[in-house]
């Protein structure tokens, strides 16, 4: 039995007692075991054939070049079927793998051979492959990558806060761009369209639209015609790629001696012949068709966090219901097929060569979020039997992919919430919850039609997408506002960067005589970072369409097809751009402001001189000063003193965003979702007046600073509620982590407590919430004995990852999150 004198979550109990969860899932586990916890390797074929074509098409319209390059990939890349799988289609070799996107980062592949040695998310590659990359691929991209273009375009004053080297590879972690290691932000396709129509029909539409063009118009023949040619070509490419899998399946069937497997392979061959060209006829068709599109999207480009799965319980349900009725599918078979898809997904790893990108996405993170629940376009509850099947699968087979997101609204059925609570209680972090009552009104306020807003899919980490009306957004700027606080204290400087004036010289902090004067200085530093961030993002957005096209995503988008414009274009008539910038260190900044206001200016317990000396010494010899600062009011405790400051800081961001979003015609709104980057961003920040020690993690998303939320999880929710400016629309998602000990949610009463908490969270119109239900002792034990705890999943930012896949820093960060236990 366990050594802990406490209550265990089901996940903890399984590990502690080595309980076998494999019964009935032998086949799925056989696939999983073949790659689980192995170091992924890099497959270079995509990069090779993509580059080969791009070399041959210089000068042509980009969207057409992209389609040709993908066609080349579709024709030449080796096709694979995972042994034992019922779904065909991989973007690379057997096992756990990642692929290369040299159009993004091909200029610094000299480090490829060393990727297996890095601590965070290592990858393997053979010397022979490195050689091919360095001789055939990298040289072509030298001078052409987005990354180099951006690095060159960045004016010196922006560089000073963006990069810490001349190459633009090392982030300064002050105002960081995240666009140079991905071609766009998270996205979701209209999979429903794929299943209902198939690519033959989508191709027919492209042909018709091309035929309707004015053949004598110089504008249309140059601007639009190549687009539709590309659309036709991309349809051909994906259909061709799929058919090659049919051939492979048939070939494998020919060699197969096992009768059952042979029959399976032949059935797969039949499906690959028809999917995704034709409409799906049944559930198995639908799964295969969706999978082909999903995998080909990965070959198309590195959209950050990968294309999400969309509202799977909605678009798959008609096939599920119909097959069950017809007796050609059982509930268990449907579950097996979905889980087969999950283990296929788990093999493709989103590879970041860029060291900064890697820092942001620890634990081999990727987010093909599956959305369940929510409402129909007409606002009725959309929960169905498949929604429950997804939850059941996560409880029984808690793999870290795909991420599961449940949409909650005021009329979500009680059973849905109870099963969500049961799944959350399992302790592996699924599902995360997104609130319709916040997203839908906000999205309509920003301009979306009501029915499209109602039909949003959860995408990426915590975001929402409307796949036929929103347009692509660039990798967003991450603004480390904790540095604004540091720069206020040190007159524009950061201890990490020595004498360089990184911010503004707002004056000697010890000479400031009033709170207003200090606050003013902070706001000046804060605004300076905002200005830099918006300027940087404007350059990022302007350069993006010169480098990237996305024919597959465009052919599935209503507006792109109508307007004849690639989705990578910045402006598409009728399109809405909901992009955002990231606020790092919200709780940290608020707590610093509250501490200075209260301790220095109101209670006069400390002088500014004492505070400055203490933080400059990282509190060594000033332990008492640190403790006094820590006892000041802090964010996350439902304390109006701190929450009022938090609300004002949010308003400062929103007001600025509003002003310049209007000018630009796109939204660039404030978001509080650090993924895992609050750890590396903390590493450049010295000690701060909230008592935070130098180089430690910043607060995470809209959660409280570590250990600062001593009033319990309900208070954290209330602080979020009170710090949000709901009368303004220039805001985006807020990530909220809550960690509970299993004891608190024990039994049926515990399930009800989670349900009640979710209902209240919904009432409070908070965007997101996710739970870690785990004992601190388990995490400490896993650090000591990683082998035993290999399967331990924890919730990180918007996703769950294996605890033992994470760096020591991030492990400690999770351990230090406040665990709420009240009796």
């Amino acid at each position: 039995m366990t050594t802990f004198d406490c209550c265990l979550s089901p996940q903890e109990a399984r590990i502690a007692n080595s309980i076998d969860t494999r019964a009935g899932r032998e086949r799925i586990y056989e696939i999983l075991d073949s790659f689980h916890m192995t170091t992924p390797f890099i497959d270079i074929e995509r990069a090779r054939y993509f580059t080969e074509s791009m070399k041959a098409t210089e000068g042509q319209p980009l969207v057409l070049r992209w389609a040709k390059a993908l066609k080349n990939c579709a024709e030449k890349m080796t096709v694979y079927i995972t042994p034992g799988s019922l779904i065909a289609g991989r973007a690379g070799k057997q096992g756990r793998y990642g692929i290369l996107y040299p159009e993004i980062d091909g200029d610094f592949y000299s480090t490829l051979g060393e990727l297996d040695k890095r601590e965070k998310s290592p990858f393997k590659i053979t010397d022979e492959e490195v050689n091919i990359v360095l001789t055939e691929i990298a040289p072509y991209w030298k001078g052409k990558t987005y990354h180099e273009h951006l690095n060159g375009a960045m004016p010196d004053d922006l560089r000073g806060v963006t990069y810490d080297d001349d190459m633009g590879l090392k982030s300064k972690f002050v105002v960081s761009e995240t666009s140079s290691y991905r071609s766009a932000l998270q996205w979701v396709h209209d999979y429903d369209k794929v299943l209902k129509r198939g690519f033959k029909d989508i191709k027919r539409e492209a042909e018709e639209r091309m035929a309707e063009l004015d053949a004598e118009s110089p504008v249309q023949t140059w601007e639009k015609r190549p687009f539709y040619e590309a659309m036709i070509m991309i349809c051909d490419a994906i259909m061709l790629w799929a058919r090659r899998h049919a051939d492979l399946a048939r070939e494998m069937a020919g060699k197969e001696t096992d009768k059952i497997r042979k029959a399976e392979l032949l059935a797969m061959a039949d499906r690959c012949e028809r999917m995704p060209a034709e409409p799906a006829k049944d559930f198995r068709d639908a799964i295969q068709s969706q999978w082909f599109v999903q995998m080909f999207s990965r070959i198309e480009q590195k959209a950050s966090a990968i294309i999400s799965n969309g509202r799977m319980d909605q678009y798959l349900f008609p096939y599920y219901e119909q097959d069950l009725e017809a007796g050609i599918l059982t509930r268990e078979q449907a579950k097996e097929l979905l889980e087969m898809m999950w283990v296929e997904m788990a093999q493709f790893i989103d590879l970041y060569i860029n060291p900064t990108g890697n820092e942001f996405n620890e634990g081999y993170a990727h987010w093909e979020a599956v959305t369940i629940g929510g409402q129909t376009p007409q606002g009725e509850d959309a929960t169905n039997e498949l929604s429950y099947l997804f939850l059941e699968s996560k409880r029984e087979f808690p793999l870290n992919y795909p991420d599961l997101a449940a949409r909650i609204h005021s009329c979500s059925p009680e059973r849905f919430l109870a099963e969500i609570a049961e799944t959350i209680k399992d302790g592996s972090g699924f599902p995360k919850l997104i609130n319709d009552e916040e997203v839908v009104p906000l999205y309509t306020a920003k301009g979306a039609p009501y029915d499209q807003a109602m039909d949003y899919s959860v995408s990426g980490c915590t975001e929402a997408r409307m796949p036929n009306i929103e347009t692509y957004t660039s990798g967003c700027v991450y603004v480390n506002f904790a540095t604004a606080m540091e720069m206020t204290m040190h007159n524009g400087r950061m201890l990490k960067y020595g004498d360089q004036v990184v911010g503004l010289e707002t004056g000697d902090v010890t000479k400031m005589e009033s709170w207003d004067e200090f606050y003013d200085a902070y706001i000046k530093q804060h605004n300076n970072l905002l200005v830099k961030a918006f300027r940087q993002q404007y350059i990022v957005d302007s350069l993006r369409p010169e480098h990237f096209a996305t024919p597959l995503a465009s052919v599935l988008h209503d507006l792109c097809m109508k307007e004849g414009l690639d989705l990578q274009n910045q402006f598409i008539p009728g399109g809405l751009e909901y992009s955002y910038f990231e606020f790092l260190g919200y709780g940290t900044v608020v707590d610093c402001l509250a501490a200075i206001k209260k301790v220095v200016f109101e209670d006069k317990k400390l002088t500014m001189d004492e505070v400055l000396k203490a933080i400059s010494a990282n509190f060594e010899g000033y332990e008492d000063v640190r403790e006094i600062l820590r006892s000041a009011p802090s964010y996350g405790n439902n304390d109006p003193y701190a929450d009022a400051i938090a609300k004002e800081i949010d308003a400062v961001c929103q007001r600025y965003a509003q002003k310049y979003s209007e000018e630009r015609g796109v939204n660039l709104d404030v978001r509080y979702v650090p993924i895992t980057s609050h750890v590396p961003f903390g590493k450049v920040v010295s000690a701060l007046p909230n008592g935070r020690e130098a180089w430690t993690a910043l607060s995470d998303g809209s959660s409280a600073s570590h250990g600062a939320d001593h009033m319990g999880p309900t208070a954290v929710l209330m602080s979020n509620y009170h710090s949000k400016n709901r009368g303004m629309k220039n805001r985006a998602s807020r990530l909220l982590n809550v960690k509970l000990s299993p004891k608190v949610v024990e039994g049926e009463a515990g399930t009800q407590k989670i349900v009640d908490m979710i209902r209240t969270w919904c009432d409070l119109h908070l965007w997101h919430i996710q739970f870690n239900i785990i004992n601190k002792q388990t995490l400490l034990a896993a650090q000591k004995d990683p082998d035993k705890y290999r399967s331990l999943l924890v919730r990180i930012a918007g996703y769950s990852a294996y605890f033992c896949d994470l760096s020591r820093d991030l492990q400690n960060d999770i351990i230090n999150r406040t665990e709420h236990e009240q009796m």
Partner: protein, 307 residues
Amino acid sequence: MSANEGIVFNIQNFSVHDGTGIRTIVFLKGCPLRCAWCSNPESQLMKPQLAFNPMKCLTTEKCTRCMDNCPQDAISPSPDGLIAIDPEACIHCHTCAEHCAANALNVYGKTMTVKEVIREVEKEAAFYARSGGGMTLSGGEALSQPDFSLALLKEAKRHRIKTAIETCAYARYDDLKAVCEYLDELIVDIKAVDDEKHKKGTGVSNQRILENIKCVAAEFPDLRILIRTPVIPGFNDTEEEIRAIVDFIPVQPSIAYELLPYHRMGQPKYAYLGMEFPYEGKALEEGIMDRLRIIESEANQRFKQKQ
């Protein structure tokens, strides 16, 4: 103390084990009992009390703020690097706690008005509405501040906050009756039926307690009553004891019964207050709770079925 003011030593949010739903517990100071196993020793005296947590103290090498600010010079460094307070010189002004950087010196109990308490409680009202929770008065013994308790409950009701009280029922019946008018749920302990045993364990006779419970159950037949027994090793942790308690309880559907296993989580606080922990080394025998739970669930079946 007037009805409008009382001494509160803690307000705890997100309480999920004391009453229905998600609740906020208001802990009032002062208790007429002196249970040997008490897990809230800081609650026993009515007046505010200074406590010292040596684990939090930064040591006199790093911080001398308490000594520097004591108007009586009653605090001096102790040989172990911590502090010593001269009880003769101390006038209980608690200035030291105000200046303590690390909150190692801490005062249990502060005077609060009804309005202040309700304002704190109402901050979490969004959670009560969904969970059926609300405010629970606890202690100490809430009824040792009867006027304040009543005023809090009245005000909570005016704010449509659901109410509960946790009491040992060692109180004037009139006081108990008065608060019951404003309660949604009454939580009351029976620690032992045998009076001698009760006196030994708690310092008081149980006659008034048992009488009060009978009277309340009869006079408020619709009030939800949860009768609880803390299962204390070496005191009442036998099937005979628990059965005797269950047999005493009036059989009616408004009543439920619950066993609370003994825990030692209050132990460190004894040291902070400079008190001896009288229950050192005691723990429940393994498996006993499982056996006692059978009696608990049989009793609940019986109460529920009574119409």
